[in-house]
Chain length 477, copies 2
């Protein structure tokens, strides 16, 4: 008889089946009820042991975390909380779990403790739900792009170009750090390094994705990116995954359409496919917020927030309009904002973004046409000479979730903007080539995948939505 998953058994209509199942014990109650989980669903299957028929020495080994192989009969449940349960005929303990030392006890553990045990934390309901959702969101991303004629491209991770300017980079090397070879003028002699030049971990695959968009038309990346910034916050990781679509012949309006459609699609996917995990996390968030003062609780539950995205049109507002709204809004006038808005040209903070979404427009917002000097060099300059065709998408609870732009396709202006921030043309000769040979309007955006997972799970610390977080002074596992 083939083993089945808990998920399969719980959705069985017929009972009185002989079943065979392997999994891990979550709890063993009253020497009689095993709650068994195998990762296939957040739900456990109840396995009922007639303890008089089993050897005491076996029963003692049925502890939280033990791996067991159970044979028995699937029957209608007598108790509440489940439709079916297994009447156990045979139980074999595959792997013991010493209750004295096993870190994951059937009680509430702090997230901090679970981070230190990241190799075991998916044995809890919360983290198994998060990681199933993370997986489902990943698949939804690939599915969306595949169905819409995009090609997946793997941008390089190790890069010799440090001109992207998106942040501090990690150095990649195979030189001996105790014995770094130097040139005659005392610089590091990278010609002796593996790649014969200085190399770093990528901060973005966008520039490379542009090369592919300008031949294959519609492409996207989905891969790891890195920041060597010493930011010990709940919103920053040194290593995170990024999604970056890039489309030839698409302008900023098309970019907004794409991003809105994409976000709605992936969130709809998990609403449809991950209902049980979402309901669990929705309830978890509700319980967590009960301990907070009323003012800090969110207006919407987790699932309400997801539907807020899928059921509303995204409001498109220029940066200039947004500044006008913010300047004259109550929290600005009453100095409730931490950062007071008084001038055009200032960058928006999360508090302003959330105000626009949650209080003013009451829908997701796309801000566009930002001041050039707070955005990247490759964004297309507008005719006004001071704004660029950038866009940020703002979500409730978290603020910015997507940043994108129409790219500067004009060779002369791109060169000027690079010169203004001292990027040598020879560093990006290949990027400039795209503007020399068959240039065209093109656009794309970037989505930090962990931001999306935080939004979809209601988790508030980014370290809790990636399997093994890398942060300052932490690269365990």
């Amino acid at each position: 008889m083939q083993s089945r998953t808990v998920s399969e058994l719980l959705s069985q209509q017929t009972t009185l089946l002989e079943v065979d199942i392997k999994g891990w014990v979550r709890t063993f109650r009253a020497n009689r009820f095993i709650a068994l989980n195998d990762g296939s669903t957040i739900n456990n299957i109840q396995c009922v042991v007639d303890f008089e028929k089993f050897d005491e020495s076996v029963l003692k080994r049925i502890t939280t975390g033990a791996a067991v192989h159970i044979k028995g009969e699937l029957v209608e449940s007598q108790g509440k909380g489940q439709k079916v349960e297994i009447q156990v005929h045979n139980i074999e303990v595959l792997g013991d779990s010493d209750p004295e030392t096993y870190p994951i006890q059937p009680k509430k553990h702090s997230f901090e403790f679970l981070r230190e045990n990241a190799h075991l934390r998916t044995r809890t309901n919360t983290f198994s739900a998060i990681m199933r959702l993370r997986s489902a969101l990943s698949f939804a991303v690939h599915k969306y792009f595949n169905e819409n004629g995009f090609y997946y491209m793997h941008a390089p991770i190790i890069t010799g170009s440090d001109a992207e300017g998106a942040g501090e980079m990690f150095k990649v090397s195979s030189l001996d750090p105790k014995n770094t070879p130097l040139t005659e003028d005392g610089k590091v002699d990278y010609s002796k390094d593996f790649f014969g030049k200085e190399t770093n971990l990528t901060v973005s695959g966008q520039l490379e994705a542009e090369t592919y968009a300008m031949s294959l038309g519609k492409v996207y990346t989905f891969g790891p990116t890195f920041r060597a910034e010493n930011s010990n916050t709940s919103r920053h990781l040194a290593e995170f995954w990024m999604i970056e679509p890039e489309v030839a012949f698409m302008d900023l309006a098309g970019n907004m359409d794409l991003a809105e459609d994409f976000l709605k699609s992936v969130i709809t996917h998990v609403l449809e496919h991950n209902q049980e995990d979402l309901e669990f996390l929705d309830q978890r968030l509700l319980n967590e917020e009960k301990s907070k003062p009323q003012a800090e609780r969110s207006d919407m539950s987790l699932i309400e927030k997801l539907k807020f995205v899928t059921e509303n049109n995204f409001k498109r507002v220029s940066y200039t309009e947004a500044i006008d709204i913010l300047r004259s809004c109550k929290p600005n006038k009453k100095k409730k904002f931490k950062y007071i808005i008084d001038e055009w040209g200032t960058d928006l903070q999360s508090e302003h973004e959330r105000f626009l979404v949650e209080k003013h427009f009451k829908c997701p917002v796309i801000l566009f046409d930002y001041p050039a000097n707070i955005k990247a060099f490759y964004m297309r300059l507008n005719e006004d000479g001071k704004t660029v065709r950038a866009m940020d998408i703002l979500f409730p609870g978290i603020g910015e979730i997507v940043g994108g732009a129409q790219r500067e396709e004009r060779l002369d202006i791109l060169k000027e903007r690079m010169a203004a921030i001292d990027i040598p043309e020879e560093d990006l000769w290949w990027y400039l080539d795209l503007r020399k040979y068959g240039t065209a309007v093109h656009s794309g955006f970037g989505l930090g995948f962990e931001r999306l997972v935080m939004f979809a799970t209601g988790m508030t610390n980014i370290r809790d939505v990636i399997p093994f977080p890398r942060t300052p002074h932490n690269a365990e596992f």
Copy 2:
């Protein structure tokens, strides 16, 4: 009128449509026929220009590589080679391409030259076909695992554990290499580095995937992995993508079933979805092989090789049986092999693997139960004490494509094997925890994604199947 893709237009049944399309000029023949491509398919759409109606200054700008916006009428083609073509009413040159300097001319370029222009090489038929196939294979991987109850997990890229022993690693650091801080006893003071310890780029996500398999049941990784090996060959990259499924409660036989089903599924996917690209690459390989001496040509065409995998059962043969076959086979006796097989315990080379697949069994082969001392420490020791439950899958043309194993689930034996090769237990405390708490039989395998793309495209240099290859002394772009 919305722009459409070449692929959409070529599959149109109705003609006499007004159409609007953007793309790049591949060729402009007789001042009349534009072959237009936009990356959506390997095929170009022919756009017929009535040159007398257009200004000479516009016609001169229609050069190979130029981006153009064409409006016209989709009509039945008069010429051979295509069913439909566009009668051009209007043409706008979006981006010029100077024919004097544009690197990608309508002629045969060497692969070496195209590698130096990797940012433009997808503007050729060969590389656009390769990268569309790469994308389709990626999607097929995710689709297969999603449909079969696996969760995608992102294994960490930066890792503090260097105990995996799979090869030389790149160091990741944010220390100043010219001014490396040292401890009192003269070692590098990694406590001052970003992560507070020595960190490297991962060589495999397997060990981390095992932690997830032992809670979520069935998981897989698909991410970049790295080797700092100075191997300047057509089979090695410093940065490549790896797929690693891992399944709890699955033994080696199950692992073979999974790998065979998986490989057949992804190859079937491209046979069904990428027919035109495959036919093009099939023909390309045929032409390339014509220039080779008969003895070096392959017996099968590209598409035949793919069907050889999807249409045959994989033959399962123990390492010991394979050695017996090889020892007594003709090429071994006649010393035609470069490496003569005479002893049990020796590792197999590609020539032996290919002999087994192509000459002896005439089907894909799964070798299993390898000598322990040529395989990794984490593979499950058999009762004979000298072999491990490892498996390699061998394909025609390339030899090994998959390597996998049932993992050692017994704590004491795993510790012994680690001790034997001097891996300190504290380096892998979390990996050992899996054997302490609820251990169980589990298995998985690794597939170098570029190997699969090489197999599916018939390309013989691994640098030609990844967008921007990283190899010794090469990290351009």
